[in-house]
């Protein structure tokens, strides 16, 4: 018998591994953003795609250069930087100057992620860090809205539905259907609830996202806005309009569900979603801003380790 020509590999079990890897998951999540990107292109034109492209390229460049400077391995292939760039672009106004989009992406990668040690170490959702930095630095650029092509209500082209609701101008609101399909002014990936829902359901179907976070988040917002709407006499359409407006849908399905910054326990995810819903409503009803999704998610991100700590699951065989 021919003998073995080299030492046998010794390694700890298991010796078998699933084909599922982080980069594949990242690509899948990016794929889930395609409907929202297409909707943005449809409503806001080629300009929307340009913002997405600039944001993604800037994120990749920032990832590559910052890791080069820190003498760390090249991590472009894990797909997370490209995804962060795409997610950031989704919550920018379509008319934002391209340099601002680029700056946001660079901040998201460097301040939001790499200073913490890179993928897996960051406390906050990097895309939302980028958005928060832009909002604080360039409030005018970040709140100047373009009309969605084909919008039949010219009067609302310069105000988002959320701003109108905040001002109590319920009579000027577009129809719920327009808000659902995205025929309203807003950030480029946020307007079409339908497109985001498609992508979000795909994520749940593929197992990348636990339904608990979007489920409890949207559920909490629905209940609270229904109560608020009833008190103020806005009617039953109000909670649905709240659900379809602003960054809520994309926040619930794509941002709050970010693996790194959300709880790993099932119970923790329920609490996380509940907290998000309450914070978002508090900001939307009583805050100085029309939208509260971004800050709610950033605040709940800080609480994630604490939530995990106190929601450890029961060990099999231990008393219930």
């Amino acid at each position: 018998m021919e003998s073995i020509t080299r030492p046998l590999i010794l390694s700890c079990s298991p010796h078998l591994h699933s084909r599922y890897t982080t980069d594949k998951a990242m690509r899948d999540v990016s794929l889930a953003l395609v409907p929202a990107a297409l909707a943005a292109a449809y409503y806001f034109g080629i300009r929307a795609l340009l913002v997405i492209l600039v944001s993604m390229v800037s994120a990749l460049a920032a990832e590559y250069i910052s890791r080069r400077i820190m003498r760390r391995s090249n991590s472009l292939m894990d797909g997370s930087a490209a995804l962060t760039g795409a997610l950031l672009a989704m919550c920018l106004p379509p008319g934002i100057p391209l340099w601002a989009a680029s700056l946001g992406a660079v901040s998201a990668i460097i301040i939001g992620k790499q200073v913490f040690g890179g993928l897996g170490q960051n406390v906050f959702n990097p895309a939302h860090v980028g958005r928060a930095i832009l909002l604080a630095s360039f409030p005018v650029h970040m709140t100047t809205w373009m009309p969605a092509n084909g919008s039949v209500v010219d009067a609302v082209t310069m105000a988002t539905p959320l701003a109108l609701m905040k001002a109590g101008s319920m009579d000027q609101l577009p129809s719920l259907w327009q808000m659902f399909i995205g025929q309203v002014p807003g950030s480029l990936g946020e307007t079409s609830a339908l497109a985001i829902l498609l992508g979000g359901l795909y994520l749940i179907y593929r197992g990348h996202v636990d339904w608990r976070i979007p489920g409890t988040y949207l559920g909490t917002v629905f209940v609270l806005t229904a109560v608020f709407g009833t008190i103020n006499g806005y009617g039953l359409i109000y909670p649905f309009m709240q659900l379809c407006s602003g960054g809520l849908m994309i926040g619930a399905f794509f941002m709050a569900t970010d693996w790194v910054t959300s709880p790993i326990t099932k119970k923790g995810r329920l609490i996380f979603g509940l907290g998000l819903g309450i914070l978002t409503c508090l900001i939307r009803f009583f805050g100085g801003l029309a939208e509260g999704v971004c800050y709610s998610i950033l605040i709940m991100n800080i609480l994630t380790p604490l939530i995990d700590r106190y929601t450890k699951g029961r060990i099999f065989g231990r008393a219930k």
């Binding site: 010794l10 390694s11 079990s13 298991p14 078998l16 982080t22």
Partner: protein
């Protein structure tokens, strides 16, 4: 017909790779020129050799005496001459003293063995227990726990109301249990009957995973007239065959951490063990051979072999006609919990259910580089024990052993589900084993363990 599929929380689905060998009838492997019988093929004290160099031994002759209660004797698996004692590596990576017997190829059984017991049903539990111990019976699923210990009367008076035969075989590639269920089902049922009598237990359950429906249907047919035995089908999910998970699937009971199945009134044995018990009781046949699945892309013909205990892996692979030149990894047991071995000059033991040989072209073993944890929580969802593998591993990586204890590292059964699903290829089981060593050391910090620096 529709059957209820039993299952347990957690776990993961794994491609089973059983199609190579699950329809191949077991072949009798040629006995090798020399066998190496380890004196430690079981959990517990090694047995003490009863023979000297130059002694002639018969097949089935006791050559090692059990030492203490948790220990079993060892027997000659061939007839021939004792030519030496050798300390050599065994599949789990440890060293064991082995009795080396030169085969005379006569296969002469020791007198008194292999005589059919006239009325085995009249044997009292004491006699049954003695025959099981005498036959060197251990759990053949891989844990090699001495069988007689499971059936010894418990000090606290605990009694079993269920004996579960484990026919799950959830490890990919392995088909040894599947074949024995198809080829020797009556012997399995007979063995179960003796176990029930021994433990004075009213109910026996044969549990089979749904990827072996042929075995399940055969077993259902053979047991339907007997209302003390139930055959159940379990969902195809890893680690369905793990003792604690199987007990939960079948009875809904949870064995407490650190506890034994008997704490919840259950005894679990492998189907192969049951068949061997029947042979031990009725023919006084000691455990000298077992079915081993030989597979992997490095073997010429994937096969199920009945192999004499003490056969070197090299001898078995050689008679299969396999070319070993480009072999890169050899696994003793299944790919999820088996051991990667560093030599082929190690003997088949009572718990050796499979030998997997892989060369460079294997897609099965291919893995990418370890990346950072992205907190996807797949490991948390897959853990059948309800642990947070990633939290334990993060603690282990920063050598925070008290923190590993907070996350209950000692409850880990090392099934490998977490490392299997991890998209970042983190070797979680490796770090968990390390943490266990420290946490279970005397001061909880590894300071008094000479192997940990």
């Amino acid at each position: 017909m529709k059957y209820e599929r039993r299952t347990f929380p957690g776990g993961t689905h794994i491609q089973d790779f059983k199609g190579f060998t699950n329809s191949l009838e077991t072949q009798e492997a040629k006995a090798p020129a020399k066998v190496y019988i380890p004196m430690s093929m079981h959990i517990g004290a090694p047995s003490k050799p009863l023979v000297a160099v130059g002694d002639l031994v018969k097949m089935g002759q006791k050559i090692g005496e059990s030492q203490g209660f948790v220990s079993v004797p060892a027997h000659a698996s061939v007839s021939g001459k004792v030519v030496g004692f050798q300390r050599m590596p065994i599949p789990n990576g440890r060293m064991a003293d082995c009795v080396v017997i030169e085969n005379d190829f006569k296969d002469e059984w020791l007198e008194g063995l292999l005589q059919t017991e006239k009325d085995p049903k009249s044997l009292d539990p004491k006699e049954l227990a003695a025959r099981i111990l005498d036959a060197g019976m251990v759990g053949m699923g891989g844990a090699t726990f001495p069988s007689h210990v499971k059936y010894a009367p418990s000090k606290e008076g605990k009694k079993a109301d269920h004996i579960i035969l484990n026919g799950i075989e959830c490890e990919p590639f392995l088909t040894a249990d599947h074949r024995i269920m198809l080829e020797r089902p009556e012997r399995i049922i007979a063995g179960l009957k003796y176990m029930m009598k021994l433990a004075d237990c009213p109910k026996g359950v044969i549990a089979i995973e749904e990827n072996k429906m042929d075995a399940f249907e055969l077993m259902i047919k053979l047991t339907e007239a007997d209302n003390t035995i139930e055959t159940v089908v379990c969902k195809e999910k890893y680690p369905q065959g793990s003792e604690k998970q199987l007990i939960y699937s079948v009875t809904g009971r949870e064995v407490p951490p650190g506890g034994l199945p008997l704490d919840v009134g259950v005894i679990v044995n492998n189907v192969g063990t049951a068949a061997a018990v029947a042979d031990a009781v009725e023919f006084k046949r000691p455990l000298i051979d077992r079915i081993v699945t030989l597979n992997g892309n490095g073997v010429a013909k994937p096969m199920n072999y009945r192999v004499r205990i003490g056969t070197l892996y090299r001898d078995l692979i050689e008679q299969n006609g396999s070319v070993l030149g480009d072999t890169v990894k050899v696994i003793s047991g299944g790919p999820m919990m088996g051991f990667a071995v560093y030599s082929l000059d190690i003997p088949v033991m009572k718990g050796t259910s499979g030998i997997l040989v892989f060369n460079e072209e294997s897609q099965v073993l291919k893995r990418e580089e370890e990346g950072p944890c992205v907190r996807c929580a797949r490991c948390v969802d897959a853990c059948p024990m309800g642990l947070e593998p990633t939290s334990i591993v993060k603690a282990a990586k920063r050598r925070d052993w008290p923190e590993a204890k907070v996350y209950d590292v000692t409850s880990c059964i090392e099934c490998g589900s977490c490392a299997y699903v991890c998209p970042s290829m983190i070797p979680l089981v490796h770090y968990i084993r390390l943490a266990k060593q420290y946490v279970t050391s005397k001061d909880g910090n590894g300071a008094v363990n000479p192997f940990l620096v």
